[in-house]
């Protein structure tokens, strides 16, 4: 059975918004830009609180941004 992990569509939704940079998103959510880089590369799984903050900043529901799926 393949391993499951927290996958996300942060980069996709951020780029959809056009003018939102990694630095903007980081500032809105109170994290460093390097954490956004790690999240977008799916090298880091956020806490529940940060996940809610990210979804709100991207104007999406939590389930749209994050899913529990097979690892890349």
């Amino acid at each position: 059975m393949s391993e499951l992990a927290v996958r996300n569509r942060i980069r996709e939704f951020r780029q959809e918004r056009g003018d939102m940079t990694q630095a903007d998103l980081a500032q809105t959510c109170g994290v460093t830009r390097q954490t956004i880089i790690a999240l977008e590369a799916e090298k880091y799984s956020p806490s529940l609180e940060l996940a809610f903050k990210l979804a709100r900043a991207l104007g999406r529901n939590l389930e749209e941004v994050f899913r529990y799926a097979e690892k890349k």
Partner: protein
């Protein structure tokens, strides 16, 4: 790789050469004492690094490194240098006999000066890095999680080191305990704490590296 990164690598190589020269001891290599030359090289390289950090803010470290990761790398270098000084002291103390019990003796005098220089250098570099971060978020949940894991690993390592020391002391035959004077024992305990800090910083930078893949 940028020009600045290449320069930083050269500086690190020069600093490592200087440190090696410093820690060869008074007998040096083929009877030549490289101590003063090594110290000059090491501190000159550190000084040029500080100048680079002030002049080329943001170019010295890769952009994908967070402030906490940069601070961990700086801490690793300085703690490694402090560890080498402590090892040098531990190697010299047993030969001093009763003189080893004096707080200021021929082995500790150069140590205090070097430790002072290193700690001042560390404070300067750390405060420059913080200033360059420009008031943004300095530490977030990812940094704290990495710091927590590194700290737990370092605590485990310290426990093993203490157990190892206790076993070594118990196993030592009576006649070979003569070197274990109070000041030597005190310095061994301080060295264990420094070793813990070294393990913690090494573990921190490794975890950041592993997370980047």
């Amino acid at each position: 790789m940028s020009r600045i990164h290449r320069r930083i690598q050269v500086l690190l190589a020069v600093a490592a050469l200087g440190a090696a020269g410093m820690f060869l001891g008074a007998e040096g290599w083929r009877g030549i004492d490289f101590g003063p030359v090594g110290a000059t090289l090491l501190y000159a390289a550190l000084w040029v690094f500080v100048i680079h950090l002030a002049k080329y803010a943001g170019e010295v470290f890769p952009e994908e490194w967070s402030l906490a990761e940069r601070q961990a790398w700086v801490a690793l270098v300085f703690v490694a240098l402090i560890s080498l000084h402590m090892l040098n002291l531990l190697a010299a103390l047993p030969d001093l006999g009763a003189e080893a019990d004096r707080l200021r003796n021929s082995a500790t005098r150069p140590l205090w000066t070097n430790l002072g220089l290193l700690i001042v250098g560390w404070i300067v570099v750390a405060s420059m890095l913080r200033r360059q971060a420009g008031g943004g978020v300095e530490l977030d949940e990812r940094d704290l999680r990495i710091a927590h894991r590194a700290s737990r690993f370092a605590d485990g390592s310290l426990l093993l080191l203490i157990i190892g020391l206790v076993v070594a002391l118990v196993a030592l035959p009576e006649y070979s305990r003569t070197w274990l004077r109070p000041m030597v024992a005190a310095n061994v305990l301080i060295s264990l704490l420094i070793a813990r800090a070294l393990v913690e910083n090494a573990c921190t930078v490794l975890r950041y590296r592993r997370e980047r893949g």
